[in-house]
């Protein structure tokens, strides 16, 4: 797989670091990471950068992850780019809301690096 550009959106810098580490452990040879601490900052990144995959938390202040995904789709930013929600919310209803908002994958916290790897690689391969 050639260069992969990933956007990680989470209000926690520690979680962004953990997700980045998980992506690097996925064996992606050339990985470029963009980070955002909020949905609003995430939209700003997407207005100027192209990415291949987006990983976003749900519970964030100012703009939660679901609204972030709805805005990506309604503003036609990152068209066709898969979005994976990474979150502590685990009920079927939350997963359904995420899919309806436009997400294509869902990973529950706590997670292993292997879970991130499998989800991300399957979406990148399908894209």
């Amino acid at each position: 797989m050639s260069e992969v550009r990933a956007l990680i959106v989470d209000d926690s810098s520690v979680m962004r670091k953990i997700v980045e580490r998980s992506l690097r452990q996925a064996g992606l040879e050339s990985l470029v990471i963009f980070e955002a601490g909020s949905g609003i900052d995430g939209l700003e990144v997407l207005r100027s950068k192209t990415v291949d995959i987006i990983l976003s938390d749900i519970n964030m202040p100012l703009m939660d992850g679901l609204e972030f995904v709805r805005q990506i789709r309604s503003q036609r930013l990152a068209e066709g780019v898969p979005v994976v929600m990474i979150t502590t919310e685990s009920s079927e209803e939350h997963v359904k809301q995420a899919i309806e908002a436009g997400a294509m994958g869902y990973i529950r916290k706590p997670f292993t690096a292997d879970q991130v790897k499998r989800r991300v690689l399957s979406l990148l391969t399908a894209a």
Binding site: S13, V14, R21, P61, T88, S91, E92, R108, K109, P110
Partner: protein, 164 residues
């Protein structure tokens, strides 16, 4: 149809807390943690620097998940999460403790399907200092457990002030 109040015994079962702590620590930090019955360990820390994180519950259950540990445990947790070394409780360590509390709260509430679907979480608040005590009203129930990991320990409390 049973209400959450009818299922109080299930909701307040301390084994849910034990399973949640093990799951979060083993999955995210890659370290085992086990129940520590000697609460005096935490009491001995009074007056020393500690870190407390609080995540609120809202919805069919209102209350909070409180995570408390001393400065050494906080640094060790952050080191396990990030792979970095910390000589003090800085913003990254505090962020890490907030996230641990967030994951513990989310994992705990996922043990009861009604809670998973109908109870939300607040963003974490993190308090640091050496001379404070947390006082929270908990008319419904309180579950408090102490756990050890990597030669240190932490305390986790679920406080419920309302069930609907």
């Amino acid at each position: 149809m049973l209400t959450l109040r009818d299922s109080l015994k299930v909701v307040a079962d301390p084994r849910n807390l034990d399973e949640s702590a093990r799951e979060v620590f083993e999955t995210m930090l890659g370290v085992p943690c086990s129940n520590q019955s000697d609460r005096a360990l935490c009491d001995a820390d009074q007056g020393m620097e500690s870190v407390t994180a609080v995540v609120g519950f809202g919805g069919i259950l209102s209350g909070a998940c409180v995570f408390r540990c001393n400065a050494l445990a906080a640094r060790r947790i952050a080191e396990c999460m990030t792979g970095m070394e910390f000589s003090a409780v800085d913003d990254i360590v505090k962020d890490g403790i907030g996230e641990i509390c967030n994951m513990l709260a989310g994992t705990w509430k996922s043990k009861v399907p009604d809670l998973a679907a109908n109870c939300g979480l607040s963003v974490p608040a993190v308090i640091t200092g050496s001379d404070y005590r947390l006082h929270v009203q908990a008319p419904e129930f309180t579950v408090c457990r102490t756990y050890s990991f990597n030669n240190t320990y932490f305390e986790m409390t679920i406080i419920c002030d309302g069930l609907h």
